[in-house]
Amino acid sequence: MTPATARRTLQSPLVPANPSPFNPGSLLSVDNLSLEALSRVLERATALTRQDPLERTRLLAKRKVALLFYESSTRTRTSFELAAKALGCDTTLVSSLSSSIEKGESLKDTGLTLRALGAEAIILRHNASGAPWLLEQHTKLPVLNAGDGMHDHPTQALLDLRTMLTHLRKGSTDMGPDVLKGVTVTITGDILHSRVARSNMLLLPRLGAEVVLCGPKELLPDLAATTGPGIRIERDFEAALRQSQVVMMLRIQAERLAGLQLDLEDYKRGFQLTQERLHTFAPQAIVLHPGPIIRGLELTGEVADGPQSAILEQISNGVAIRMAVVERALNGGRA
């Protein structure tokens, strides 16, 4: 038998399907949401925003939600907390710096402890990719992924989507495979270390949008384009801007560079979003940024505060989306 024929004829063990998520209320990845479920989340986000605040607090009155944060966070943590409280939940925050995690308690044991204390759902931010799957497997509780390592940040992708839909589709909540057809979203910057980029790369092509990734090789390896269909790489920032209806800028994640040397001046010359670039190449596009923004690095202050910026809208949309997913979590997957 020659090696070449051997390779052609051999069957190898199959890769089994993943039993995930365990709990129907969990939101571990944007992949967990069918288009129908996605529509429902967006619908509820809008409805909950419009509802009378006092009435709203009766929806999940005194239900217990734990926020478990292994990384610092301003937007995500605060908006999850406000969202849960807006529905009447009692929330408790456990962060790695002021808890027994510092003493070496494992994620499993921390999760079991929170469950024993009565938590009915856990919102987890963790610096290790995949941590929410581990927590869910051991607690069997609904787990909401509030960002895991370099992997996924599903509620960010959802709030980005809501922002895009407001501007480009009159706030439609009816999601189908063509709803964002003709829309090109350029994500620029530190793609390699970005969970926001990965979540958007998973979600947007399912809705018909085209995702263009832009950045230098150190922060955007060629294989990023293999993540899924509808994703391509454009190294020339201005060429990317010219095609875009949405421009999403990312922060360079100094905390994850792991020794990678980067010439920031060089980076700014190639990829900083300036008012001039925006005006020349994408005068109609909306500008998004998951935050925190570093003014003067990935974008100028002028752009951040400018008329095309939807950055603060994204933050408000965060509360709306997070109300919907907290409600879904505590209603066993029904939003």
């Binding site: 390779r7 190898s12 890769v15 290790a128 995949g130 581990l134 051991h138 294989l223 993540t227 792991a258």
Partner: protein, 433 residues
């Protein structure tokens, strides 16, 4: 010592060129006589095993296991690890030195072989190449060899410095020991927890590039080429990439003394099996791409691979129940190697049974120069495995003899059921009916 007769079995002894029905007399720990069925003179008082319908083969030899003692008995002990080995058909295992303390001394080497350890099968210690496996000062190989060490390696702490590796190859050659290298340029794998590639990118995990393995194999082969007259022997542990196999293949064509082993997980699984951060699929070297996996199969079938070795690496449950990037590397493998090899290599991929068994016995014995092992020729060690080649069964880790359960193969179909494992004339394992 007592005697044992294995009757009515079909003997497959690739090293001796035997593939025929034979009765075998084992006496005083050695193979005493082999004869056609019923032709053996049954010695008085000898115990007897009826191997009708079964294959009798030289006991399997795993040249890459971690028995965790001394120092990490909560993961595995020499007793529990060798019990798992016996259940898997192995009669000898070569134990890696990354224990606590590191096995870099005559004392630890002897301690591991002492009868008090309660080993079910023969343990051949592999000593550390350098003091504390720190890659700086090489150990006294002559002394370690006389204490029983069969090879030297720094295993998980590969020797990166050219001069130290050169010195190790020369010094080991001088006393007739092989040098085993875990080929990983750790300067390229810092913080990485799986194979570099599309799957790692999707999962947001830092990846180990294939070049980290192949680059070090190529470096080692270059050093060996420079030392051509020294009789130095390089053995590449758990080869996992197409490029590393290609380098070994070329070196062999050039007449160098380079051998290599492949683990069952590397000829069966790919990085996609990691799924959603399943730590039972995390080991080092990591599961690679489908192209790399196919290259392992190809190299096994065409004879470049010298041995199937499991890299049995037990870890306690609580150590694996953590975030993927924090989980320790390694999976158990002693109980599944034969069943997987027969299922895939023999049944699915049509490799002759004798060749599969050779990769699990005669050839690994030759790699480490284990005299009188890996064959059932008269006068050799009475190490045999008796198994039903037709039996299909399912591996259940709940029944493992190991102290740990970190296997990716729980629930997998296996081919060939071990009925008896006989080590140095004693029954080390018998399938309870």
């Amino acid at each position: 010592m007592s005697a044992l007769v294995i009757r009515n079995g079909h003997l497959i002894d690739p090293a001796a060129g035997v593939d025929a029905p034979k009765d075998i007399l084992l006496k005083d720990g050695k193979v005493a006589e082999i004869a056609g069925p019923g032709k053996l003179k049954h010695p008085d008082g000898a115990e007897s095993i009826d191997a009708a319908g079964l294959v009798v083969a030289p006991g399997l030899i795993d040249i890459h296991v971690h028995l965790r003692e001394p120092g990490q008995g909560y993961k595995e002990t020499i007793a529990s690890g060798t019990a798992a080995a016996a259940a898997g058909g192995f009669t000898a295992v070569a134990a890696m030195p990354n224990t606590t303390p590191v096995n870099d001394t005559v004392d630890v080497t002897r301690w591991m072989q002492a009868p008090e350890r309660g080993a079910s099968v023969r343990v051949f210690p592999i000593a550390a190449a350098t003091r504390g496996s720190k890659g700086e000062a090489i150990n006294d190989f002559a002394a370690l060899k006389s204490a029983g060490a069969v090879a030297v390696t720094d295993d998980g702490h590969p020797i990166l410095k050219d001069n130290i590796m050169r010195e190790t190859l020369v010094a080991a050659a001088r006393v007739g020991l092989s040098v085993i290298q875990h080929a990983e340029d750790t300067r390229l794998t810092h913080g990485a927890s799986m194979n570099a590639g599309p799957t790692a990118f999707k999962l947001g995990l830092r990846g180990m590039p294939a070049e980290a393995e192949s680059g070090l194999v190529e470096r080692d082969i270059r050093l060996l080429t420079e030392l051509r007259d020294s009789r130095a022997h390089l053995h590449v542990a758990h080869t996992s990439t197409a490029a590393a196999i290609a380098a070994v293949r070329q070196a062999r064509r050039n007449g160098l003394r380079v051998t290599c082993e492949v683990a069952p997980h590397h000829f069966l699984l790919t990085d996609e099996h990691v799924g959603l951060y399943n730590t039972h699929f995390k080991m080092n070297p990591p599961l690679r791409s489908a192209a790399d996996r196919d290259a392992m199969i190809e190299a096994i079938l065409d004879g470049v691979v010298d041995a199937i070795a499991t890299d049995h690496a037990p870890h306690a449950a609580h150590e694996k129940e953590v975030e993927f990037e924090r989980a320790p590397n390694g999976i158990t493998g002693l109980e599944t190697a034969l069943g997987l090899s027969l299922f895939w290599l023999h049944k699915e991929w049509k490799m002759p049974l004798g060749r599969v068994l050779s990769l699990l016995s005669a050839q690994p014995a030759a790699v480490l120069g284990l005299k009188g092992r890996g064959t059932l020729a008269v006068g050799s060690s009475a190490d045999a495995v008796v198994f039903d080649p037709k039996a299909e069964w399912t591996y259940r880790v709940a029944k493992t003899k190991s102290k740990s359960r970190n296997t990716p193969f729980d629930g997998w179909p296996m081919q060939g059921k071990v009925q008896w494992t006989i080590c140095e004339g004693r029954i080390a394992y018998a399938l309870s009916s």
